[in-house]
């Protein structure tokens, strides 16, 4: 266990450091500068210079990075140049929503993917082919396009679900669930494709192995042979795929939150990008990376749970 966490830290820390350095160096290349962006069109050059000094923009890059890093280590990611709010606070208000989207979509992808994968592995035939075709299409469909189709059909035409928005579970649990259905389907269904493919391949491999034959020869119930034994052993690579899916979903939420007008980190990232809010986008880059790292850790730990050899 501790070995896994140490190994994880050895990846996580360099990645976080790397992402923060790279975004910092990139943002120092910004044409124009932040002070001008903050002060707006009426400011004089003197005011701009004064603010640059005040914000420390005239310090050398390493000094600025150090200042930022020490702040970041204390949870202070700086202040938005667009609305003056602390970046940490804005992210804090939204991270739960994005997290619930990602977790929900991973669950949708896992459930659909595994169900289809197992079924097609056991049944073969047309169902296997269908999973292949769906997986092929699923990997080619732009998520945002699929989301728009879902909105058009299920929200605007059929009115089964709200077209946009996010309802806090504290406000109304049914409302919350309803508001999540379309976004989770939009994110989860395309992500289920690679999961189904991996599950099917993994199940086919496992079902051909010796121990399955032996289990059957021992008279173990078929249900147990398939779900308790074969599926569990096929699960490790599926978990790896789910980890990749979760990372890709992080990008997907940016688009889905735009389509469904959901107040998550993705929407914040798009706004920050279009308004050139460098501190916010920098903070988001770090937080997104942290989310990826946490997902990876979760995958590692689950992997160890499923696979006794990895526990060593």
């Amino acid at each position: 266990m501790s070995k896994i966490i140490i190994r994880w830290l050895l990846t996580a820390l360099p990645v976080l450091f790397g992402v923060s350095v790279i975004t910092f160096v990139l943002s120092s290349l910004v044409p124009g500068n932040a002070a001008r962006a903050i002060l707006g069109i009426n400011a004089t050059q003197e005011q701009v210079d004064a603010l640059n000094t005040e914000l420390g923009f005239d310090e050398p890059l390493p000094v600025r990075y150090w200042t930022w890093l020490t702040g970041a280590l204390h949870g202070d990611l700086g202040v938005s140049v667009v609305n003056g709010l602390p970046v940490t606070e804005q992210i804090g208000a939204r991270i739960g929503i994005t997290a619930s989207l990602i977790v929900g979509a991973v669950i949708v992808a896992a459930v659909l993917g595994v169900a289809f994968g197992v079924t097609s592995a056991l049944r073969g035939g047309w169902l296997g082919k269908a999973v292949d075709v769906v997986a092929l299409i699923g990997m080619a469909i732009p998520g945002f396009w699929f989301a728009l189709v879902l909105v058009t059909v299920f929200a605007v035409q059929l009115r089964w679900f709200p077209a946009t928005g996010y309802i806090m579970p504290s406000e109304s649990v049914t409302g919350w669930l309803q508001s999540l259905v379309l976004p989770l389907l939009a994110l989860g269904i395309p992500s289920a494709a690679p999961v189904a493919k991996q599950t099917r391949d993994g199940m086919l491999t496992e079902m051909g192995k010796d121990y399955i034959k032996v289990l059957r020869a021992r008279g173990v119930r078929e249900r147990s042979v398939i779900f308790r034994h074969a599926l569990r052993n096929a699960a490790s690579p599926v978990l790896t795929v789910l980890g990749i899916v979760a990372v890709v979903l992080l990008g997907g939420t940016v688009l889905a939150e735009t389509v469904f007008v959901i107040p998550g980190l993705g929407g914040l990232a798009v706004n920050a990008t279009s308004s050139h809010d460098i501190p916010t986008i920098q903070g988001l880059a770090v937080v997104f990376t942290m989310i990826v790292m946490v997902v990876n850790l979760a995958i590692e730990l689950t992997y160890a749970l499923v696979n006794p050899k990895a526990r060593a």
């Binding site: 056991l122 998520g143 945002f144 079902m207 051909g208 121990y211 021992r218 990372v247 990008t273 988001l284």
Partner: protein, 651 residues
């Protein structure tokens, strides 16, 4: 082999796959339409017809019009330039950064290799989308910069793939020889390594480029990419007019999906074609062992329900005698077919033998003689498509063919235990061995988990495992082969079966351990357990069995008491097999070996299956089916027109 010739051959075999050919055609159409949009497009991309905005398909506008009456088809064609150039930038960066790094890492190894691998690990954890947004926040609307960064982020992944491919080639003999002969690295890499990995690179890069198209259209949809017509901005336009004119979603989505699907399909085709080129052609005919894997694409091993066959088929000459109702197991004229390359083929033909209570019977023969298949058909566990086409398997007086699924399950493990060849791989790696034994117990006896666990411990003690508490909590990979085999035996005994089938139970074990396991089996047999031992090892057989049946190419060729069999084989195959036994070899003389191999089922000859390898073959051996007939005394049977006499054997 010149490059042109080889690439022509490659293209031909690629195009022979209909999916690949179709994808290639679709891609060609898209690329041509895009590149020559200036000539082919019916309108300029920005040409407006303000009076005809947002209209459906018509003869003037095949895909209808968008905002300001701009022609959707033309914008799609021109927009493809923007999208595809952006994707190409990503793909080019991907290759330029990934290939040299990967080849160098794989070729040189050492520290650089470590750096590349570690970088790939780290970059894998970078959230790509947000990094692209950072780039776009800093360089507003500069999609090309974003796509170049996208390529860079993907490159370490490519480097890793190229590295392992290069490493493989680097270790091949001819490359090693080239290195040894002092040819410069650059030349070796360019002449030998690059051509071999180029296919892999092509596949990776095209899949990546398809991903870049998805990314570009996403950025275009968010309005963060280019502001010119592009596939992404077409979707954005569709999204703006979703309520008024949902039609726009169709062409904009269809072009993206079609393009990406075609690229992915083509990449699959290229991958398959490459695989065909660099692996030697697989033997067309596979031995029935592992038949499940041979058919892995279609379906996994499924339970095959035995079918009672009425009439004997052509090959079965000996009339089906009645099963012995007092025997533990009575196999009569068993014939089993399995589809091989789609053709139903006999893999077991006319097999008969009995096992009495407490008796140990051996089934002996070379690999591919059908021993394991015979055993599997007893349990109704034939590979997918396998069926008993004639003959019967009777266990304790009940014909297995009449059993339903539940009865069959009770038979397996409940009446007949199974001990397999490779003890480690026949245990599920994910569960403790105690749990697995307990599961076998609970599969046949309703009892609590705790009671089943206790019973499992008892069973583990019974198979003479030391420190059963600790062993029970171990995972298979933590056990030695011998211990694992004892666990396997314990699981086989979980429901007190009357018969165990042991399929080469000692083959995978060390010699000293073999003896221990055999001793254990002997003890169990002494307690009244019937044993069917499958082996090709006369020593093992002699250690345990009273009687033996010799199998060759799906048939029992001789049955007899073991002593009689060893000292006076009547079938030439039995004699040959005995001669090969290293235990019988004379010291100092070369180890005798049996020339040739067992013919696979589709190549079984007319007449005697052993004819092609038999030193005593006569003309009458080559026609007609040969029945299993009584041998020199009534306790033995042999399938031969010219059984050997004792003199011939000693000769």
């Amino acid at each position: 082999m010149t490059t042109t010739a080889s690439s022509r051959g490659f293209l031909r075999s690629l195009l022979s796959k209909p999916m690949s050919a179709a994808s290639l055609i679709v891609l060609a159409i898209i690329v041509i339409a895009t590149v020559f949009a200036g000539v082919l497009a019916p309108y300029e991309p920005d040409a407006q017809d303000l009076t005809a905005a947002l209209q459906g398909p018509s003869s003037a506008h095949w895909l209808g019009t968008g905002e300001l009456g701009r022609d959707v088809l033309s914008r799609m064609m021109y927009g493809g330039r923007v999208t595809l150039i952006a994707a190409l930038i990503a793909g080019a960066t991907f290759i330029l950064a990934g290939v040299p790094a990967g080849m160098l890492a794989g070729y040189r190894g050492g520290r650089f290799d470590q750096v590349v691998l570690k970088t790939a690990d780290l970059v894998f954890a970078v959230p790509v989308m947000i990094v692209l947004l950072v780039v776009l926040a800093i360089f507003p609307g500069n999609e090309f910069a974003a796509m170049a960064v996208f390529g860079l982020l993907g490159a370490p992944g490519l480097a890793r793939v190229v590295r392992s491919a290069t490493l493989g080639i680097r270790n091949e003999l001819y490359v090693k020889a080239a290195v040894a002969s002092g040819i410069r690295d650059r030349v070796i890499v360019l002449r030998h390594v690059l051509p071999r990995v180029s296919g892999t690179i092509l596949v990776q890069a095209s899949v990546f480029t398809a991903g870049a198209v998805l990314m570009e259209t996403g950025l275009g949809f968010l309005g963060l990419g280019t502001q010119n017509a592009s596939w992404g901005s077409l979707v954005a336009e569709a999204s703006r007019n979703l309520g008024i004119h949902p039609w726009l979603l169709i062409p904009s989505g269809a072009i993206i999906i079609t393009f990406i699907m075609s690229v992915n399909l083509l990449a699959d085709g290229v991958r398959d074609t490459l695989a065909e080129r660099y692996t030697p052609p697989a033997a067309k005919v596979r031995a029935p062992r592992g038949g499940a894997k041979a058919n892995a694409g279609a379906s996994a091993t499924a339970e095959a329900t035995p079918v009672a066959g009425g009439a004997d088929n052509a090959g079965a000459a000996r009339a089906s005698a009645a099963a012995d109702p007092h025997a533990l197991l009575s196999v009569r004229s068993l014939t089993v077919t399995l589809p091989i390359d789609g053709v139903p083929t006999d893999i077991i033909r006319d097999v008969s033998f009995d096992i009495q209570p407490g008796e140990a019977m051996g089934l002996v023969g070379e690999s591919g003689s059908g021993k394991t298949m015979t055993a599997l058909s007893i349990l109704g566990l034939l590979p997918a498509g396998g069926r008993i086409t004639s003959g019967s398997v009777t266990v304790e007086g009940t014909d297995v063919a009449t059993m339903n699924k539940a009865a069959l399950r009770r038979l397996r493990g409940g009446r007949i235990g199974w001990i397999s060849q490779d003890p480690i791989s026949s245990l599920d790696p994910s569960f403790t061995v105690g749990w697995q034994v307990a599961e076998a117990v609970r599969s046949h006896r309703p009892m609590s988990r705790r009671a089943a666990w206790q019973h499992a411990l008892t069973l583990l003690e019974k198979v003479k495992l030391p420190d059963v508490e600790r062993v029970a909590k171990s995972y298979p990979h933590q056990l030695s082969g011998g211990m694992a085999q004892r666990v396997g035996i314990a699981a086989a005994l979980a429901a007190d079966p009357v018969l165990v089938i042991a399929d080469e139970p000692t083959t995978a074990l060390d010699v000293t351990v073999q003896a221990d396991i055999l001793a254990l089996l002997r003890d169990l047999q002494a307690d009244g357990l019937g044993v069917l031992l499958i082996t090709h090892n006369w020593g093992v057989l002699a250690d345990l069995c009273d009687r033996a049946a010799v199998m060759y190419a799906g048939q029992v060729v001789e049955t007899a008491d073991l002593r009689a069999l060893v000292h006076g084989p009547e079938h030439p195959y039995t004699a040959a097999l005995l001669a090969c036994d290293p235990h019988q070899a004379r010291p100092g003389a070369p180890l005798p070996a049996l020339d040739g191999a067992v013919p696979p089922p589709p190549q079984w000859p007319q007449g005697c299956h052993f004819q092609s390898r038999c030193p005593f073959v006569k003309d009458d051996c080559r026609t007609g089916a040969i029945a299993l007939a009584d041998g020199s005394d009534s306790s033995r049977a042999v399938r031969c027109h010219h059984p050997l006499t004792r003199q011939e054997v000693t000769l």
